[in-house]
Symmetry: C2
Subunit: 111 residues, 2 copies
DNA sequence: TTACTTAATCGTATATTTGCGATATAAGAT
DNA sequence: ATCTTATATCGCAAATATACGATTAAGTAA
């Protein structure tokens, strides 16, 4: 039995899916929102904002970092994170390439 | 122990996450790509294109439909699907509102 | 040195996702 | 009515995600 046949798809499909997956949780959206609005490295504070335990927030941060949506530096006993704008730019391009370039001529719903 | 505390977040955060989650699989990205490129209702064919069993593809289609990314009509023994452009437009706006409007002044990576 | 602070990781329980085969459904063909 | 075709749903097994408390690690302060 083969589970997770993700390798059967193209690299671009997998990349897009991986990016979307990293955003596929409200907690991670909230984290990204904070980082985007602050527009600087945010050290801590995120734990105080989210309604989750410290360990859980740390896991979400790790996922975002692993997926490449954010970067992080260790600065003494605390860690600082900020948005990886380059990754978002790439995602946005890919996303628009797939879906947005046809949007105008498709305003008419077909079914 | 509370699992899945998604209700603790704002509706917009949940909506964005739900949309992202629907795209968080290469198979569903591939399906969306086909529908976007064809630019019309696609009946069947999707099963032939994807390297997955018919029942699995049907499940992915159901997820996309439930999340509102695609629409579908039953047409005799066959079903036809097409992209819900309105949903994509909404997602794109929300996405850009959160992340893209700050992109230009943030090209400098901070960490 | 011993505390204190901050964040990451471990261990674990539960929930969800993924995939397939088997079965059901529903319309058209014979 | 039966057969065929196309799609959806069910039932199950395995993988992954989610969350928390407890612990660890590493720097700072006393």
């Amino acid at each position: 039995m083969a589970f997770h046949k993700k390798e059967e798809f193209t690299q671009k499909e997998q990349d897009l899916a991986a990016f979307a997956k990293a955003m596929a949780h409200p907690a991670r959206i909230a984290i990204l929102k904070v980082l985007a609005q602050r527009n600087e490295c945010v050290c801590g504070e995120i734990v105080d904002i989210l309604p989750l335990a410290q360990s859980t927030v740390s896991q979400h941060l790790k996922e975002l970092k692993t997926a490449g949506l954010i970067t992080g530096t260790v600065d003494g006993p605390r860690s600082c994170y900020c948005i990886n704008w380059k990754a978002f730019s790439t995602f946005n391009s890919e996303f628009n390439f797939l879906f947005a370039n046809l949007k105008i001529k498709n305003e008419k719903a077909c079914c």
